[in-house]
Point group: C2
Chain length 87, copies 2
């Protein structure tokens, strides 16, 4: 399945959440990740994230699309590469 | 159709892009908007945005899902309300 995950967490937890998501998905831009993943791997990923975030102040949104053919992505402007910006 | 739009633009253009997107869609978190919209309205929305952004440094990602039934959204943590944070 295809997933798009966006997160909005306290600045001191951004790097931790980014690092976990990077193991499972591809970074898109800002606090958005996307990619194809199994339900099991997603569960594992979310388990790691929920161990780091504060559910009273942070949030993580998951958009699941069972069949990747049902989602169409269009990019306007430049496609950014996280590594080139931050590393 | 259902769309999810995320943007990554220079800080001086964030408010302008946010204001345009807010006319057409619902703000989700950070630089992410979502909602149901027609292809015509989306074209109109993107026309406004492209008039504001710099395609050499900014980027806007659109994820389209023709049938909203094909997308499933899950929220972990709190659901934020832009108005309560910024206004």
């Amino acid at each position: 399945m295809f997933v798009m995950i966006s997160y909005d967490v306290d600045v001191k937890r951004v790097a931790k959440v980014h690092k976990i998501l990077k193991k499972y998905l591809q970074w898109t831009q800002n606090s958005v990740f996307e990619g194809t993943i199994t339900e099991g791997k997603l569960k594992q990923c979310m388990g790691e994230i929920l161990g780091k975030i504060n559910p009273k102040s942070d949030s993580v949104y998951i958009y699941r699309v069972s069949n990747p053919k049902n989602i169409q992505k269009t990019v306007y402007g430049i496609e950014k590469d996280f590594e080139s910006i931050f590393l």
